[in-house]
């Protein structure tokens, strides 16, 4: 029993795969920016002097951390339009599910980073007349972000891989296209091997880039 590998159906369908890759990258880019960006907002809300903001932050984090992204995507796509009259595309549903979940996780990462900064840093900045916001922006966040960069990199990787969940609402990304090709050509071995390899090929250089960023940020050590 020797299996005869045959990649021709994949090569014939390279345009479909390319479309999928574009869909994956597009979803990843949007979710990365929204997820990590909104996560910072949620983390700062948790430190707010307003109780309502703190409650919102904690509620948000716990809700989205403790529900599966897959369920969230399905909920946004199928359930939300039944409650409010909105048109939800597969792209939007996937963005909502993945971004909100990532925001919840990254908020906790940011919080840990901010808390790890010595009180003396706040005090030194306040002592020269900097406002709380200026201190955060100029002194605390640059140091905190540097410390949590490896953890944020992990989040980024996770976001990239979570884009495959969007296939469940027929969003056109790599896995969706692969499944299509596999079902038409009965070649799941080749297809899923190539899909997996493509993810690695996309992700590994990105991870290397964050290592380079870490080194660049370490020049003050």
């Amino acid at each position: 029993m020797t299996y005869r590998w045959d990649f021709t159906p994949l090569l014939d369908n390279w345009q479909a795969l390319a479309m999928g890759a574009v869909g994956t990258l597009r979803l990843f880019a949007v979710c990365l920016v929204l997820g990590l960006g909104f996560g910072l907002v949620v983390a700062l809300a948790r430190r707010s002097r307003w109780r309502a903001a703190r409650w919102f932050s904690i509620g948000f984090i716990e809700f989205f951390r403790n529900t599966p992204v897959l369920v969230q995507i399905l909920w946004f796509y199928f359930a939300l339009p039944m409650l409010v009259p909105v048109e939800i595309t597969p792209f939007t549903a996937a963005i909502l599910g993945i971004s909100l979940n990532s925001a919840a996780y990254s908020a906790e990462i940011y919080r840990a980073g901010i808390q790890s900064i010595e009180p003396g840093q706040w005090e030194a900045a306040r002592a020269i007349g900097m406002s709380g916001l200026q201190t955060l922006r100029r002194i605390v966040l640059p140091q905190a972000l540097r410390r949590v960069l490896p953890a944020l990199t992990n989040r980024g990787i996770e976001i990239f891989k979570m884009t495959t969940l969007a296939s469940v609402v027929a969003y056109i990304e790599l896995l969706h296209q692969g499944r299509l090709i596999a079902s038409l050509n009965f070649n799941p071995l080749e297809v899923y091997s190539v899909i997996g390899a493509l993810f690695f090929l996309f992700l590994y250089p990105l991870v290397r880039a964050t290592y380079a960023l870490e080194r660049r940020l370490a020049r003050s050590d």
Partner: protein, 260 residues
């Protein structure tokens, strides 16, 4: 003309149930150099930190140039004082502080540390701030370290950068919170020299210190803190050479035990 540069009026501070000090009154005139000494836990640093509101006093007022900091508010029948962030930030620009642990910003060069307040708080153009920052670094003898990050500086150098950072804001009063306590003995001298230079320029300063000898030579007035307040005060000769009250005498005797 009589208005003191800084007046503390009836300052109270407590941490939970424990009163650190109560009813502290102090007048600081322009050009005064006040050394605050006392045992650990006597509230020296806390008193200093109440002046620029890194700690908020529980009662009493801080009055800078005749203007009380904060606004009185009636709430639930009691008179409280509300300190808004803006007025505290303005106060802090006029009151510089140097910390025991230096607290330099590690992600900025020495020059970056000194420029930070000028650019971010005073909104100075970067070129001007860099020129001024370099001049301040030169004043503490560190012009050649402008591009060095704090991690590459010795403790004494770090503290001198911290002094330059405080000076750059052109404060009217300088607060030193045990500026040499975290230093190797061999590095204490260079920091004391820098402070001495500022003293010779006639700057107003308040110094919390364990360096009794330095306090003696530098200060115009010495406060000894004990029993929740200023226990004894006077000229360095009065307080350090001929203390009148028992706790001061015991404290000074303890410090003289190993002098040679």
């Amino acid at each position: 003309m009589d208005t003191p540069l800084l007046r503390l009026a009836g300052l109270d501070k407590r941490f939970g149930e424990r009163a650190v000090f109560s009813g502290v009154d102090l007048d600081v005139k322009r050009g005064d150099r006040i050394a605050i000494i006392g045992a650990s836990g006597s509230g020296k640093s806390t008193l200093l930190r109440c002046i620029n509101f890194l700690e908020h006093p529980d009662a009493g007022r801080v009055i800078l140039n005749g203007e009380p900091v904060g606004a009185e508010r009636q709430r639930a029948g009691a008179t409280g004082i509300r300190y808004d962030e803006g007025s505290l930030n303005r106060l802090r620009q006029r009151v510089g502080m140097v910390f025991q642990q230096f607290n330099l910003f590690p992600h900025m060069t020495a020059l970056g540390n000194v420029m930070e307040g000028l650019v971010t708080v005073k909104r100075m153009a970067r070129d001007d701030a860099a020129r001024l920052g370099l001049a301040e670094l030169a004043r503490v003898g560190l012009a050649d370290k402008a591009e060095a990050y704090p991690a590459h500086l010795s403790g004494g150098q770090k503290q001198r950068v911290a002094i330059a950072r405080a000076l750059a804001m052109e404060p009217e009063i300088l607060l030193f919170d045990e500026p040499t306590s975290a230093l190797d003995p061999a590095l204490v001298g260079e920091v004391l020299d820098a402070i001495q230079t500022l003293a010779a320029e006639g700057r107003t300063m308040i110094l919390v210190t364990h360096e009794i000898g330095f306090a003696y030579h530098m200060a115009t007035r010495v406060l000894f803190l004990a029993e929740g307040g200023i226990y004894e005060q006077g000229t360095p000769d009065e307080v350090l050479k001929a203390p009148r009250r028992p706790l001061t005498q015991a404290f000074i005797a303890g410090h003289r035990r190993f002098s040679f």
